[in-house]
Symmetry: C2
Subunit: 165 residues, 2 copies
Amino acid sequence: MAGNLMHILPPCPIMGRKRLLIKRIDNPCSRQIAYSKRGKGILKKATELSTLCGADVGLLMFEDIFLRYMDRHDDFSSDPNWLLVVVTVLVRKPETFEALERKLCELNRKIYEAQEKMRSYSPDVSNIYSIAEAQHHQQFVAKAIQRIEKLKKTKLLEKETSPSL
Amino acid sequence: MAGNLMHILPPCPIMGRKRLLIKRIDNPCSRQIAYSKRGKGILKKATELSTLCGADVGLLMFEDIFLRYMDRHDDFSSDPNWLLVVVTVLVRKPETFEALERKLCELNRKIYEAQEKMRSYSPDVSNIYSIAEAQHHQQFVAKAIQRIEKLKKTKLLEKETSPSL
DNA sequence: CCCACTATTTATAAAGG
DNA sequence: TCCTTTATAAATAGTGG
């Protein structure tokens, strides 16, 4: 273990942990270690988010495990046929991402049906046909809710202050 | 606001930062705050992983923003038509997840072609037809590489030790 | 790849604006 | 919702087995 050496070596000046700049790690070994550690970290975080907030979280991590292997064993690096992409997936409720796309379409239909009722709270939610578009709508809807809440607060304040004066 | 009450209430014993148990957060406000903060945190981590390790990372976070809204404003909670799922997506190289599925199939073809060459290193990589299956293969391939590396180490050790004896 | 250790950095819960 | 601050908890880089 590390501890066995630690107490017989002179204390290092620093030689230890350091701040990491967010740029591609050049050293293949360090890069792989970082991928392994951080990959697990994100998986943990995603699971926590799912549990804490009841959100469905999907996580895809693509890595080229053989490319990585070749980095360390250059006897294969000349052969471009050596290629394997490995995918790590976490979905709280196990569904494929195609299924998630379908789910979004289905929900879009419900949104369309409910659109008339929702008009006053969310001016435009009928054009979500892809995951990418939904991203923009999240901001939009959040802003709309924000406006409503601000309005409610203002009106509540008016009610509270006017009787006391 | 909370602050308006805070200074007229007696100072709480600790009421400060505390360790969080990983279970669903009951209070809707706290849950939403946690979702917002942790969501951003994971997005940051995913981006960092992508930059640091050159990995393609896809992240899906589904939340029901209107369900969330209804949690706090129960005047809508009786109407099941109020439903909007919001999706947050990050992909380093912007691709839909259907495109990612196609990519996986294409790579599978390459894997199939290279299978004969790979046989000694990875006993079976021809049956990856979905993201879910790939997950199992990651562990499998990782173990295979582990075995090879262990073997190499052992042989290297034999070479190093036998001349000295 | 796994594990352990630990100094350091990063994330974040709680509070207030 | 956004922001800031701060104390605390968690993640992790570097090292070694």
